[in-house]
């Protein structure tokens, strides 16, 4: 499995550390259902069989956090983006939503 880092180019997967599902967002600690939300955040997993977005860290390279779209059934990688860009996109779409 090789990951095409947007900053360094294509590298073997042993240069990267894996964190997991990129779709989860840290819940609001002040919400009334925070206890349940944090339980789900910390322990429950979608564990998708198929294409999924995950966080990988280029630990032996540029130290960037990446969002990698990968099929867990085949290990085929269809997209790699800097996690920062995705976070900014999310932030912008959240602030423009009325």
């Amino acid at each position: 499995m090789r990951i095409n880092c947007p900053f360094c180019g294509e590298r073997g997967n042993d240069e990267f550390s894996y964190l997991g599902d990129a779709s989860v967002v840290r819940p609001d600690a002040s919400a009334p259902d925070a206890a349940d939300a944090f339980y789900a955040f910390a322990y429950e997993r979608r564990n998708v069989a198929g294409p999924t977005q995950e966080l990988w860290y280029h630990s032996a390279g540029c130290h960037a956090w990446l969002v990698v779209t990968r099929d867990t059934r085949t290990h085929e990688i269809s997209d790699v983006k800097p996690a920062q860009d995705i976070a900014l996109e999310r932030q912008n779409s959240a602030s423009t939503t009325p």
């Binding site: 997967n13 910390a42 997993r45 867990t72 059934r73 290990h75």
Partner: protein, 420 residues
């Protein structure tokens, strides 16, 4: 005339005279009935053992085991066949020791040669701190009545004089041995339990994949399969590796991730290593099969996967561990490598419990330790299904323990399953 249904020296001799014409298939190719008392999803070691103990010990043979592929085609045929009960935590030790005791009587119980070989499992230590940690583990085992023995360097040297004792970074200082541990022929476990369950009246239905659950008013009514609907009062899931996918069909999200673990076997060589040895400084474990192949493995790959195959960095890491420990395997050729899908739970320990859906029970989260647990997993799951209460030795394996904080984290890694 002697029946060949019970395996013995006499049936072998009788069949020799009869031209081997009297053997019966080890289990029937059952066609699904409209409904059963209990349906077990997953015809691997755990599911078959559950069915066997349900019929044998709990007197309920109105049971079907449904399997998406064929018997022996899943993780029960993809492991490194090691059995042991050298655990540290009170939630785990009694359970795995129950399993060890069941292994010890398995072949007589099943009338099936599962090649149970108590050849000893030796965990090497490489530093003073690791010796102390192993002494603690060994003491915890002995407090629970499990055999363990802390060996010094001379004792290990006497057993395996050819290990690399003078590795500059990881010199071997001794080991913790469980002499009752060893290996078991994994396919024979599946076949033996399948045959045992079948003879007691359990239907084993192969090539039937679950496509959905019928749930009405929060209660299970049966399973939809590729071979039609099968009604059931109770349904037990024993589908480790694919637990999340099957549970999702019932609308549940589990504290489990699927990861790939690779294993390896070398070409057959003459008798070389007569026990199971593990490297304490890296992650490498090895034994030799009766065919002569060296069977070994190491860490999981570390990312979510359903692919049943891994990547080369872990292959390199495992082989480096092997070379650091026993350089003389360097010229042995690798014959095969393969991957199995592990149900990695959030604390590294399994789950055997009810679910929020009435009549639906869950068995999974075995991480990379499911094979050794097969008999006790079956016994405890059968107990839960039959009595609707947890077996004494599996009480800690609750589904809600992550919410309540009663985790059983042998490795102390927390909710990062790729590190367990």
């Amino acid at each position: 005339m002697l029946s060949s249904d019970r395996y013995s020296i006499f049936s072998v001799l009788a069949e020799a005279l009869r031209g081997q014409t009297g053997w019966k298939p080890a289990w029937r190719k059952a066609t699904p009935k409209p409904s059963y008392d209990i349906v077990i999803v997953g015809g691997g070691g755990h599911g078959l053992a559950t069915a066997y103990y349900l019929a044998k010990r709990y007197g309920n043979a109105n049971v079907a085991v449904i399997e998406k592929g064929w018997i022996g085609g899943g993780n029960v045929g993809r492991n490194t066949t090691i059995v042991r009960s050298n655990y540290l935590l009170p939630g785990n030790i009694p359970f795995y020791e129950t399993s060890m005791k069941l292994w010890e009587g398995l072949e007589q119980d099943l009338n099936y040669n599962a090649m149970v070989s108590q050849r000893g499992v030796l965990n090497l230590y490489h530093s003073d701190a690791q010796r102390d940690a192993y002494a603690r583990r060994g003491n915890a085992m002995r407090l629970h009545g499990v055999d363990s023995e802390l060996l010094d360097l001379d004792a290990v040297r006497a057993m395996y004089p050819w290990l690399n004792y003078d590795n500059a970074r990881f010199p071997i200082k001794g080991g913790l041995i469980q002499r009752r541990g060893g290996t078991v022929r994994h396919d024979a476990v599946a076949w033996g339990y399948a045959r045992g369950a079948d003879r007691l009246g359990v239907d084993i239905i192969e090539n039937a994949e679950v496509t959905g659950f019928r749930i009405e008013n929060g209660k299970i009514g049966g399973v939809e399969t590729t071979r039609g609907f099968i009604g059931a009062n109770k349904v037990g899931l024993a589908v480790a590796g694919n637990s999340s996918r099957v549970a999702a069909l019932a609308g549940m999200m589990l504290p489990i991730e699927s990861h790939v673990l690779q294993a390896f076997v070398s070409e057959g060589i003459k008798p070389f290593i007569d026990g199971v040895v593990t490297f304490g400084a890296g992650h490498f474990y090895i034994s030799q099969s009766d065919k002569g192949g060296l069977v070994f493995g190491g860490d999981i790959d570390g990312y979510n996967s359903y692919a049943q195959r891994g990547n080369l960095p872990v292959v390199e890491d495992v082989l480096e561990g092997g070379m650091a420990l026993m350089p003389r395997i360097g010229r042995v050729r690798l014959l095969r490598s393969w991957g199995g899908i592990m149900d990695m739970s959030m604390d590294g320990s399994p789950i055997i419990d009810r679910t929020p859906i009435e009549g639906l029970y869950f068995n999974g989260g075995w991480c990379y330790g499911g094979f050794k647990a097969t008999p006790a997993s079956g016994l405890c799951f059968a107990h839960l299904l039959a009595r609707d209460e947890p077996h004494e030795v599996a009480k800690a394996y609750r589904l809600d323990r992550f919410r309540t904080g009663h985790m059983i984290d042998e490795k102390g890694m927390g909710n990062q399953p790729n590190l367990h």
